[in-house]
């Protein structure tokens, strides 16, 4: 566990819990980061507000990596535009691509996401695309230059947990990049399960923002993610299926 690092495009992280910063007050961010043990925090890009002089950057502790997303983008071109603006804001090359062309379920558009990934990777961004867990898309994202793949567990903000579990497992098994489960994780136990499956990290926002005690829930998530990771690294134990040993009915033909 000590040398176990999450590596994204050559950048090393100890924490495997990525924190969202949406839907809660800026004043809670510092505590959330602290209790979550987070080293990466996401944020969005919006039209600047002239009235409010509070800026999220003033609330994020030093040393935490900022992961701007492209929320609001409805196609690849808009995502690229938002990503470029985010980089101009001067907090590094990380970008989480989020492209929705559906306002009801907010499901990501995989095809446009591949297109945006390709453009931004060529421009030197560290691209972390949020996607619907589809193996062919994941392979396209790898070829397009993605740094990670971020499949959704269930619709964003739903807190419904690992509805796409089997398909995320396929990505974990087949894709050589870190698979970061993003969206829909509503409880620490679900985060833990994703980590036990072999996910490289878990990202959560709404589960914390809507919790009774945000910092306490952030800590619960941190522990769950660590426990799941440790279980994965330890190799889960066997389940006893039956007591009796089988007879050699299948292999009885072997001669030596």
């Amino acid at each position: 566990m000590e040398n176990d690092k999450l590596v994204i495009a050559g950048h090393e992280f100890t924490s495997r819990f990525i924190l969202g910063s949406g839907k809660y007050s800026l004043s809670l961010i510092e505590a959330a980061v602290k209790y979550a043990g987070a080293e990466i925090i996401t944020c969005a890009v919006r039209r600047a507000n002239t009235k409010e002089h509070e800026n999220i950057l003033d609330f994020i502790p030093k040393g935490v990596t900022l992961l701007p997303n492209t929320s609001g983008a409805r196609n690849a071109d808009e995502a690229v535009r938002i990503a470029r603006l985010a980089r101009e804001l001067g907090c590094g090359d990380f970008v989480k691509i989020e492209i929705m062309r559906d306002t009801k379920y907010l499901l990501p558009d995989n095809a446009e996401t591949v297109r945006a990934t390709e453009i931004l990777a060529k421009e030197g961004f560290i691209v972390m695309p949020y996607m619907y867990p589809d193996l062919n898309t994941a392979r396209d994202l790898v070829n397009a230059g993605a740094a990670t793949v971020m499949p959704l567990a269930s619709p964003i903000g739903s807190n419904k947990g690992l509805a796409t579990k089997d398909f995320i497992q396929i990505l974990i098994d087949e894709i050589d990049l870190p698979i970061i489960v993003d969206a829909g994780i509503g409880r620490p136990s679900q985060a833990c399960e994703a980590m036990e499956m072999g996910a490289a990290a878990v990202m959560s926002n709404t589960a914390l923002a809507t919790a009774g005690d945000l910092p306490a829930m952030a800590e619960a998530f941190r522990k769950a993610v660590e426990a799941g990771r440790q279980a994965y690294l330890s190799g889960l134990g066997r389940v006893l299926v039956r007591g009796a040993a089988p007879s050699d009915t299948l292999t009885g033909f072997l001669r030596d």
Binding site: Q169, E174, G235, T251, L254
Partner: protein, 416 residues
């Protein structure tokens, strides 16, 4: 050097004999087996590095019963799990492995077994591979069929009912060039619905050409993934270049082939490491080329003409069965072919567990299908590469497989 392999022919000139002995005894007289020869295409690939780093770190003795049990319960096995299943710790679990393997085989292939036959069209070889009957210093009857003879052989085979054929040559580009093989494959497409080749490794453009001639499947045996051992067994010729051989399947896929097959020849070196390497070679190919059909074989060493002492050493039937079950559980979707090197009893048993494809009506000689199929004498025949063990005809195999409760399939291929 294993003495079991080395045989001197009394027909070699003193000069040839001297050269042969020098190659055998003086490593400095041999070329660098890791260096490409002129004309051998280099491709950019990380597969070799991935496979070999896993093999180099593999210590079969560290795995325990618990590792095997855990592996057997996983839906998707990791490379570590495969290592456990190939280790001595898995031997007491052979029946459980067979049970799991059978479930996977039936899940992916149903109750079927595919039949095919190999056709050797030439046995000229310019390599000196000490364990092979075709090696250039072995005194055998050499032969290369012309197109008329090839067509005749194909007719005989096709008349037996076979629909899939594997065209083989010895590894001599000079005697059996790509054009010659391509022409044979064009003929094969007239008589068979699926054509594969097992020939010397070639460049991407050659594979593309062969694909245009109707070939869809390329089989290349790496013999052993132990490069040091390889060096001591493949003393001369193009085949001596180990990395060029390793990349053959990938070049075939780059040339448009639909599927590739490969394996080590079990018994040449540490069979557990070679089995691991064989499985990972195909595994990483499929990961990189997800559309590719992959297939594994499991040849063990067999006696050859002029040397009956050659044997598979420590790879017994139990070990072979363990390897095949591990392949199946790790790669549930892969084809697995069991060669006629194995006995009828072994093949009947293993098709119910892990194998999906077996050859029938096999001859590893040249131009002798008519005599072997009909008993009709024929004077011009080339000698065999190795002794087969299961000599069942296509008809016999078809009825035996049905008798075992399996559905023999001749072809399920839609040619596109």
């Amino acid at each position: 050097m294993e003495n079991q392999f080395l045989i001197d022919s009394d027909e070699l000139t003193p000069e040839a004999l001297e050269r042969k002995h020098r190659l055998e005894n003086d490593p400095s007289s041999r070329t660098n087996h890791m260096e490409y020869m002129e004309g051998q295409e280099v491709i950019k690939s990380d597969i070799r590095e991935k496979v070999m780093s896993a093999v180099e770190s593999y210590d079969p003795s560290v795995y325990k019963a618990n590792d095997v049990m855990r592996a057997l319960q996983k839906q998707n096995l990791s490379v570590e799990d495969l290592k456990a299943l190939l280790s001595p710790a898995a031997e007491p679990f052979l029946e459980q492995m067979a049970e799991r393997a059978r479930i996977e085989t039936r899940k992916h292939f149903g109750n079927t077994v595919y039949l095919f036959t190999p056709l050797y069209i030439a046995n000229y070889c310019e390599n000196y591979c000490v364990y092979c009957g075709f090696n250039c210093y072995n005194k055998i009857r050499r032969m290369k069929l012309d197109m008329e003879q090839i067509e005749h052989e194909m007719k005989v085979i096709a008349d037996s009912g076979m629909e899939e054929i594997l065209i083989l040559t010895g590894e001599s580009r000079a005697m059996s060039d790509v054009k010659y093989i391509g022409e044979a494959c064009k003929l094969a497409r007239k008589y068979f619905r699926m054509v594969g080749v097992e020939i010397y490794p070639v460049n991407v453009e050659d594979y593309r050409y062969l694909h245009e001639c109707g070939v869809d499947y390329v089989t290349v045996f790496q013999e052993t993934y132990d490069t040091e051992k390889y060096e001591t067994l493949h003393l001369m010729g193009h085949k001596r270049v180990w990395p060029y051989r390793f990349d053959a399947q990938e070049r075939a896929l780059m040339g448009g082939m639909r599927g590739v097959a490969g394996s080590a020849l079990l018994g040449l070196s540490d069979f557990r490491k070679d089995a691991l390497a064989s499985a990972l070679h195909m595994y990483y190919l499929q990961r990189k080329y997800p559309h590719a059909e992959i297939s594994l074989s499991c040849p063990r060493l067999r006696p050859i003409i002029n040397n009956g002492k050659i044997n598979p050493r420590d790879v017994g039937e139990k070990q072979l069965c363990q390897i095949l079950c591990a392949y199946r559980i790790f790669l549930p979707f892969a084809g697995i072919t069991v060669s006629s090197r194995e006995s009828a009893q072994f093949r009947n048993g293993i098709v119910k567990i892990a194998a999906t494809k077996i050859s029938a009506g096999v001859s590893t000689g040249i131009g002798d299908h008519e005599s072997k199929y009909t008993g009709k004498e024929c004077d011009a025949e080339g000698d065999e590469q190795f002794e087969i063990n299961d000599g069942r005809s296509f008809k016999q195999m078809y009825s035996d497989m049905s008798g075992e409760g399996l559905q023999p399939v001749l072809n399920d291929y839609l040619y596109v």
